[in-house]
């Protein structure tokens, strides 16, 4: 169970104060996959970063019950560009106290980078970088995977491999996913929530959340 206690998060921008969460208290239940919806700029990525602990709330408290939560997979730059893929893996293993050999072997086999694993990451193509990042997140067993608009990488065969690895993880782990693709959300998530103007509302089915989100979009037009 991940609990938000009276959490407020705002951003000061040149155009004024942006409200992400305003005195929000809620629980994210375990054992269900959650899709997060919200119009652009509502703060969906920030919500994931609050859950992961990358970012602290302005006020309030977030309890995680000892759950191992991933970093938000997707957009964020996970790697140090001037270090090789291998050294970046070493750093992550040291931070998370995992076996360097086991993780490197797994990622080596999964990401199919071959000799490039010893090249600086800044020389990687976007696809190679995404493969390394995805491989690393699959090598660690998290209880909750945070997914920020993950985009499929590689050819059809590699996509199938990613989907298979991910599906296997989700037998034991949960997912909290931000996506603009309703198809992806319905594929992975059973419950949904909508972030709007500092409020986060939960819905028992992802379809219901999508319907609320669609109404929100229509109101804005």
């Amino acid at each position: 169970m991940i609990r938000f206690h009276d959490v407020t998060k705002r951003y000061r921008m040149k155009s004024g104060v942006k409200r992400i969460l305003e005195n929000a208290s809620f629980e994210i239940p375990r054992g269900r996959n959650l899709g997060v919806l919200g119009i652009n700029g509502a703060g969906k990525s920030t919500l994931l970063r609050l859950i992961s602990g990358n970012e602290l709330p302005d006020s309030g408290r977030i309890d995680r019950d000892g759950a191992a939560i991933s970093w938000p997979l997707g957009f964020a730059e996970t790697f140090h560009g001037s270090l090789s893929g291998r050294d970046n893996l070493k750093f992550a293993c040291r931070v998370y106290s995992r076996s360097i050999d086991a993780v490197t072997d797994y990622v080596q086999a999964f990401a199919e980078l071959g000799k490039h694993l010893d090249e600086p990451v800044k020389n990687y193509s976007n696809g190679m970088r995404a493969r390394l990042a995805f491989g690393l997140s699959m090598a660690f067993d998290f209880d909750v995977y945070l997914v920020d608009e993950i985009t499929a990488v590689g050819d059809a065969r590699f996509k199938a491999k990613c989907a298979a690895a991910f599906t296997e993880k989700l037998e034991k782990a949960d997912i909290i996913m931000v996506s603009h693709s309703m198809a992806t959300l319905t594929q992975y998530c059973s419950v949904g929530c909508v972030l709007n103007d500092g409020r986060l509302d939960f819905y028992e089915s992802i379809d219901e959340a999508i319907a609320v989100y669609n109404r929100l979009m229509k109101d804005r037009l």
């Binding site: 609990r3 970012e55 970093w71 730059e77 270090l83 998370y96």
Partner: protein, 266 residues
């Protein structure tokens, strides 16, 4: 419930933090000089080159050093002491801003990058000092200090000061945009005001009245008192550099604690 126990905001195992600082140190060693050939070795070569250049220039003037007979030892005690202050001050100041884009792993905190750089700079500077001393022995330049403990105390004073200035500046630079600009001026002034080129007792009284407030000058004086037999400074206040260093560090850490939610925005 276990909830509050695992709240990463409030309580974090000391061993976890040490592990993360260790991981950051290893990563920094790889990246710091990564773009140059020989990498980390430059940290050892730089003080040697500087001592060589400074000594060469002063020998050309024909004047004798203010203490002892050799400019090599005058700048060993002056310049290498100064690096113990300069390196942590500069590197720690940039710790938060340099790592901001790289903090995608939630267990890694801003403050860990600060401690990692404090530790790494100290380890590097001590190693570089040992390297210079060994080379001097090899070149048969006398390097046995009159009082080894006092000699070491001077370097420690400079390191504490550098860490204090660095920690305080790291926090301030995340809040005050122009801090880095002022910091640049401050460090350029320090290069001349720290006393690496002079001995305070030989300054004109009006200059000494101002410079005696500069804590780095006291740090270098401790090193030189430890090195040269018969040199006893009349202006030294021994606790002063330690006091300033620890105060700045504590002040910086307190501000970080109060403003953590703001500083933490990665």
């Amino acid at each position: 419930m276990a909830g509050s126990f695992t709240n990463v905001d409030l309580k974090r195992g000391f061993t976890l933090q040490l592990r993360i600082i260790g991981a950051l140190i290893l990563r920094e060693m790889r990246t710091r000089f990564g773009q140059y050939q020989f990498g980390y070795a430059w940290a050892f070569i730089e003080p040697l080159v500087q001592i060589g250049i400074l000594s060469g220039m002063f020998y050309l003037t024909g004047a004798r050093p203010a203490l002892g007979n050799s400019y090599e030892t005058f700048f060993l005690t002056g310049y290498v002491s100064f690096t113990f202050f300069r390196d942590p001050a500069q590197q720690v100041m940039q710790a938060i801003s340099a790592n901001r884009a790289l903090l995608s792993f939630p267990p890694v905190r801003n403050i860990d990058t600060v401690w990692a750089r404090v530790a790494l700079e100290f380890i590097t500077d001590v190693s570089a000092l040992c390297f210079v001393l060994l080379l001097f022995v090899f070149l048969e330049i006398p390097v046995v200090p009159e009082d080894s403990i006092r000699f070491a105390e001077g370097f420690l004073a400079m390191a504490v000061l550098g860490a204090g200035v660095g920690i305080f500046s790291a926090v301030m630079s995340t809040m005050v945009r122009t801090w880095q600009l002022f910091f640049g001026w401050f460090m350029r002034i320090q290069f001349f005001a720290s006393g690496l080129f002079f001995v305070p007792e030989r300054l004109p009284p009006f200059a000494l009245d101002i410079l005696k407030w500069n804590p780095t000058m006291h740090g270098i004086v401790i090193t030189r008192e430890g090195f040269y037999s018969g040199y006893k400074s009349i202006v030294l206040v021994e606790y002063y550099p330690f006091l300033v260093g620890f105060s700045l560090a504590l002040l910086g850490l307190a501000i970080e604690k109060l403003h953590r939610r703001r500083v933490s925005q990665k």
